[in-house]
Subunit: 228 residues, 2 copies
């Protein structure tokens, strides 16, 4: 049975903690207090306190001084928030003229306020998309996600042609810059050159040649279409 302790009884704070911990433990590796504190812009003692409460609530497993991991229930709640967040982003971009670099903070507040009904209506209006405007996969309502396989642009070989499938989270500034280059999910790029030792990558997209630094090349996740 579903031990779901009243999903709606979770406070905004708790929801934020769970989402943060989810983000910090891709494959179940424990998240540290200071990582969480940094991500949520809180002091470490605040996190320690909340972690204690949440583990007493059964939402996470805490090994003192070692780190925390979500329980199945915590993960379910976290995925619920991720689904909300990404669907809201997709909806705002599709129907209300938001750009992908401004949509995040709006979704960050709305995700705590929407009902399940509203989320599902938005999903339906969008045709139940599987990814948000950044290419991040949208968990299903029953709590499963599949992360599509992808490689950072930085890891492609010269001559590879690939589709950008996802742009890892970043600040507005960065996203806006990438948008001006046309580097967004769906774009097709071909690697023309690649400098060693973390140097820039030269690519061709939409008939234009771009040079992309290492930092950005790590953030652009691609699916290879054709090798040289």
């Amino acid at each position: 049975m579903n031990t779901t302790l009243a999903a709606d009884s979770l406070t905004r704070s708790v929801e934020d903690y769970l989402k943060a911990i989810y983000r910090l433990s891709p494959e179940g590796r424990p998240a540290s207090t200071s990582e969480i504190a940094h991500l949520l812009e809180l002091s470490p003692p605040s996190v320690s306190g909340m972690v204690k409460r949440l583990s007493e609530l059964g939402l996470l497993e805490h090994l003192p001084y070692k780190g925390v991991q979500l329980t199945a229930e915590g993960r379910r709640a976290a995925l619920r928030m991720v689904r909300r967040h990404r669907l809201i982003e997709a909806y705002l971009v599709e129907f209300l003229g938001y750009s992908w670099d401004t949509v995040h903070q709006e979704a960050e507040r709305l995700e705590h306020a929407v009902s399940d009904t509203l989320v599902e209506r938005m999903a339906a209006a969008l045709g139940n998309p599987s990814a948000d405007p950044h290419g991040d996969p949208i968990p299903t309502a029953d709590g499963s996600v599949q992360e599509p396989a992808s490689t950072p642009l930085a890891g492609l070989d010269v001559g590879d042609t690939a589709a950008i499938v996802r742009v890892a989270e970043g600040d507005s500034e960065r996203l806006r810059y990438l948008a001006t280059l046309g580097l967004r999910p769906g774009a097709i790029v071909t690697v023309l050159d690649r400098q060693p030792f973390g140097g820039p990558v030269t690519i061709e997209t939409r008939g234009e040649v771009q040079v992309v630094g290492q930092a950005l090349a790590q953030v652009l996740l691609c699916a290879v279409r054709a090798a040289r």
Copy 2:
């Protein structure tokens, strides 16, 4: 100058108090502690405490043991919330399949989470409507409202034909019932009969004859189209 003390610094609670007080003081008549407590489902002492804080913040005028009134600034903040609420209701009904009896609680949460930008985008998508699905007027972004003149159905004379312009707030149950009768803003009704001493009103609408009790007849606000 606008003394607006950071509009976004108001907490959800504060926003709810201001909205409640606005609702309770149609033309500046002071609202009592117990009225506010009842509307917000809080204890009177909680209200007393908050009223003290809000009057120190300059959002309302408090005459102890007498009642409270919004200051210009409090009124501005309240109208901002009312605008949000009504636009959100209109948006959800127009674009996301909500019915007028279910939309209230959703808006009640969202109104605290949306940004000004989002509110204005929704307004634009709706074509800047002047009323929400219940016929309640939507204050403008700069904080003015005009309540259209209207008469309760209960106050019409036999033979009058009128348009329903507004349905005063009520619970879902009541709204759902009225919807089944087709009695919503825009409906045209003709008064066929009217019993004295608060008795029911018999009307004709869409070719059908309905008998409406006094309670509902008070809630249906009409604009007379033609007298007998």
